[in-house]
């Protein structure tokens, strides 16, 4: 018997079901930690999403008012715990801005090297976990296999695999051990071909494209209005990256580095020619584009790490001496944002001239990125909610602080 497929939206009107509130989280694998979303659903269609946060609130700002800046470094690790190195760097630079301190050349290149490795590791988790959200398990394993190697390298450099406290105010706690650069080089050489595997598994996978193309559209205006940053902002086609557009103390770190901001210009991404073309079903600002920006940033970071290794080897002298644990801060206040893997991570430090800050404020990139979810999920299907939240790549440790 031949049946005609009707437009599901028509049925929705005819047989109107009662509205139902569905709790997604706080313990739900695809909410990336302890995020709770309350969905107002009408059948399969979500009419409203209300995010509830705070389940991982650990009073990071209050703790900052009781510790000296160097003692606070381990707490920054626990903000975005998937990119501890980048959090260390953000805080260290903020304090250095207040102290008017510049790290030596060697320390600067070491920081770029470590921060960009951190970005690769973080994007690998984002990518692998996004596959999980959409119901495919293998990319997760492929991604974690490579991330594991980066963590091994980090462990060799600082002794920790997750909470590094490696980059610190004034430089780094230690120089890289002997033979580290060769291992890093070997890792990059074998890692670059693996990126193509990821493109086969996800980027160009038909099911993946169907699940992400045109879903969760974020217009550039809305992205700016909601204070989105990082790949979420650039996925909407806004050409903004603090590594180029940030404050001098941060951009000077990347002064003599060659890199192009990953963002679509006139329908093309910078590295378009080497990588799979953008599928025609996708629209700028959808989940697919946010994912693609992350994938291309991995390639970009590999390039930056290579440059950093070269410059690090060529530079002489010290990698930077950490300041004293109880060094007095000059009175004043500074605000500084850095480009962490998930977006612009900001620290606001108010000092009254003692060793312990008067006030520490943390501006989290994911906090602002997540606040746009209600807009993105309005009118989508329940199954699209994990696709949208996953594409924002949120880390609750950073949102709740």
């Amino acid at each position: 018997m031949a049946t005609t497929v009707e437009d599901p939206r028509v049925i929705e009107v005819d047989v109107r079901t009662d509205e139902m509130l569905v709790n997604m989280g706080p313990q739900h694998p695809s909410t990336h930690g302890v995020l709770r979303l309350v969905l107002r659903t009408d059948g399969e269609v979500v009419s409203e999403v209300t995010p509830h946060i705070g389940y991982l609130h650990r009073c990071a700002e209050k703790i900052g008012e009781n510790l000296t800046p160097r003692q606070y470094i381990p707490y920054t690790d626990r903000m975005d715990y998937l990119a501890g190195m980048n959090m260390n760097l953000g805080w260290a630079l903020t304090v250095e801005k207040l102290l008017d301190l510049r790290v030596p050349e060697k320390g600067r290149h070491l920081r770029v090297l470590i921060a960009e490795m951190g970005r690769i590791a973080s994007h690998l988790v984002g990518m692998g976990a996004y596959g999980l959200d959409l119901g495919t398990f293998s990319p997760f394993l492929y991604a974690f296999r490579e991330r594991e190697k980066i963590l091994d390298l980090f462990e060799e450099a600082c002794g920790a695999r997750l909470t590094y406290s490696y980059l610190t105010v004034g430089g780094a706690t230690a120089d890289l051990p002997k033979g580290w650069l060769e291992k890093c080089e070997a890792f990059l050489d074998q890692f670059v071909p693996v990126i193509d595997e990821y493109h086969t598994l996800l980027t160009t996978n038909t099911i993946f494209i169907k699940r992400t193309a045109g879903i969760g559209l974020l217009s550039p205006e809305m992205a700016i209005d909601y204070g989105c940053s990082g790949p979420v902002l650039r996925g909407s086609g806004v050409d903004h990256d603090l590594r180029r557009d940030g404050e001098t103390i941060y951009t000077s770190m990347y002064d003599d580095y060659n890199f192009e901001i990953i963002c679509e210009r006139d329908g093309h991404y910078p590295q378009d020619q080497d990588y799979p073309p953008v599928p025609i079903e996708t629209m700028l600002g959808d989940c697919w584009h946010r994912f693609y920006v992350r994938m291309l940033e991995v390639v970009q970071s590999v390039g930056l790490v290579r440059q950093a290794m070269e410059k690090y080897q060529a530079s002489e002298g010290s990698h930077g001496e950490p300041i004293k644990l109880n060094q007095k801060l000059p009175p004043g206040e500074v605000y500084l944002e850095t480009e962490a893997p998930r977006g612009q991570m900001g620290f606001y430090l108010v000092s009254d001239g003692k060793a312990i800050p008067w006030r520490v404020r943390v501006r989290s990139s994911c906090f602002s990125n997540l606040s746009v979810t209600p807009e993105l999920c309005r009118g989508c299907l329940i199954a699209d909610v994990p696709a949208v939240v996953g594409s924002l790549d949120v880390v609750m440790g950073e949102i709740d602080r």
Partner: protein, 176 residues
Amino acid sequence: MEFQAIAERLQERLGDAIVAVESEAIDPWIEVAPARLMEVATALRDDPAWLFDYLHCISGVDLLETDPKKAAKTEWEPHLQVVYHLSSIRLKHRLVLKVHLPRWKEDQEGELPELASVASLWNTANWHEREVYDLCGVRFTNHPNLRRILCPEDWVGYPLRKDYEMPLEYHGIRGR
């Protein structure tokens, strides 16, 4: 646009809405009269010479010296500050706005000071203002949904105020 130019133009246009300008600081800031915040913020966002389209962060700072000996020596009266970090993605300049508020409305302890919400200008302010309300105790008027955001809804007190004391007990959990 340079900070000096922004400050001068702002003073020219809105006169006494600008209470103070500090251009010597590492991050120069402008202090705005609380009642005129909306006016200033709207001008900053919409004026084609400024176009401050991106609100980074709203922070609450409690200025209260709890030690009576030190309090006698401080140069400032106890007050709250709400700090806005703005920038323009298109024009690539930055600005810091400050608003000084009393710690309690009309000095009545427990009555939160009020400030106009800028959530209608920048949507990101919605969550940021909720956080300032939650942790520092500032009531934002005309806010679409002013609820606690990080602390539980039945939490008592404003943890980032300097005179805050941890509760002894919360739902059977020992506090201190």
